[in-house]
Amino acid sequence: MNTIAAPARPVPPARDPAWLGRVFWLGAGLVLLWPLFVATEFRPWVLFEPANVKISAQFIGSFFPPVLNPEFLLMVAKETWRTVAIATAGIVLALGVAVPLTLLSTRSLSISALPGRMARLPFVLRQAVRGLLIVLRSVPELVWALVFVRVVGLGPTAGVLAIALTYGGMLGKVYGEILESGEQQPTETLLRNGAGRLQAFFYGLLPGNAAELTSYTVYRWECAIRSSVVLGFVGAGGLGQQMDNSMKMFNGGEVATMLLVFIALVALADRTSGWLRRALG
């Protein structure tokens, strides 16, 4: 009597069939990353050396309780307003930089490009303006601030100018992209029928893209608030400068209060900007 052998079923692999490859690439990645760890002097154990642990524990311990006496809170409120004001003034000036440059550089408003290729001179001009925008936004705002602090001295002027230039470059570039990616038909029709460039902008380009442009501007305003805190560290005033002072004095309580205020401020700006962008559609 012979037993009937059960037909051999393909056994599904119990393991990930690609595990060898995955492990190999993980290992190779770590080896490739090694120079990075060396170059950045990545030594996490430094954090846990007894001397360092003691200093860190002292500093972090001094965070509690946060300083909450009225005159300090009043000062923090004042500096917070200054931070917001620097960001707002900076963004307004940045608009002054970005809007004309966008109008100059956007392809959609080119009359000579209507039949096909843009003429040489307008092309060169547009590229030059784009180059200017790239330079403006490639220099970090902190570097602009360091430069302006030299020229106008310590104070909010340097911060406002730094934000104006960097954000002018960013806004100009993105405005150009938004305008060029939107609907071109109305603008083109206007231009073909003899409208001026500004007319074509106001009646063709702007209505179609206004919501997106505004929403991006609001988002950048939120970023500018963060920047303006950072600029305080090089002497532009506001919350950053106070934080720098308190940190140098190892006054953890004051640092803690300001960090909390700062987190709240960013959350508030986040909310406002989210709400505005939703309202704008």
Binding site: R82, A89, S138, L146, V152, M247
Partner: protein, 274 residues
């Protein structure tokens, strides 16, 4: 017979000013904010636009030339650039890993997932995110000491907050089908995550990470101003000593580095899109 007009009554446009006009109140508030900002800041435009400021600006820019291109200094700049580059890369990679670790508890993985850790993890991510890199660096200098290590950690902390939130949104928005199919077979949550959710969102995660890398190279370039290594530290040092020719070289190196990373990341992202 009903009293009906032949044409619809002519509708007047809404009055411009109306207590219920949200846009009016909003514009009014905006104008008030802008005016108050300029008014409260005692900006010294007079000083800035004076002939004296123009001269000092011109002198300042003039001092940049010629940039210092001597071999020993260029070597120093190269070392600084490599350090900045390494800081930005490692900071971003660490942040991507940590961000992914935190994004999982910060997202609702499937419907009916209690996700009890979602709110607290998001709070942590928001706190990490709202403190800028430079402030993190200044705080971390105390425990990590001067140098690029503090800068790398600072970048990693801030970017963890940013990426964690973006990753969590990506994971929550991933199509639920494959994960559902695996769970119906009794596969555990870790494997569902590894073999259904992650493969779907991976391209998006990589693209976010590359985008943050572009941001971080800018940040890494200036972190040194508070003493956290890289080109920024050299910049702060030489600018403080009015070595303007060296400052010019450093600024040039920064621009090149930022442009190179932008180009590389753009090319990589385009390749991935295809």
């Amino acid at each position: 017979m009903k009293d009906e007009a032949a044409n619809l009554p002519y509708r007047l446009p809404p009055r411009v000013f109306d207590a219920r006009c949200k846009a009016c109140w909003f514009s009014l508030g905006l104008v008030a904010l802008v005016v108050a900002s300029f008014w409260s800041l005692d900006l010294q435009w007079g000083q800035f636009f004076s002939a004296e400021a123009a001269r000092s600006m011109a002198r300042f820019v003039g001092e940049f030339f010629p940039p210092d291109l001597s071999a020993p200094f260029l070597h120093k700049v190269l070392v600084g650039s490599v350090e900045t580059m390494a800081m930005s890369l490692l900071g971003t990679l660490l942040a991507a890993a940590l961000g992914l670790l935190l994004a999982v508890p910060a997202s609702r993985l499937h419907e009916g997932d209690a996700a009890w850790a979602r709110a607290p993890t998001r709070l942590v991510l928001n706190a990490l995110r709202s403190i800028p890199e430079l402030v993190w660096a200044a705080l971390l200098l105390i425990s990590a000491g001067l140098g690029p290590f503090a800068g790398t950690l600072a970048l990693a902390f801030h970017t963890t907050g940013v990426l964690g939130r973006l990753f969590a949104e990506a994971i929550e928005n991933a199509p639920a089908g494959p994960g559902f199919a695996l769970r119906a077979q009794g596969v555990g949550p870790l494997r569902v995550l590894l073999f259904a959710t992650l493969p779907q969102v991976l391209p998006q995660l990589v693209s976010y990470t590359l985008y943050r890398w572009e941001n971080n190279i800018r940040a890494a370039a200036v972190l040194g101003v508070v003493g956290a290594g890289g080109l920024g530290q050299l910049l702060a040092f030489h600018m403080g000593l009015f070595h303007m020719n060296k400052t010019a070289t450093l600024l040039g190196a920064m621009l090149l580095l930022v442009a190179a990373v932008d180009l590389l990341s753009y090319a990589l992202r385009r390749r991935m899109m295809r």
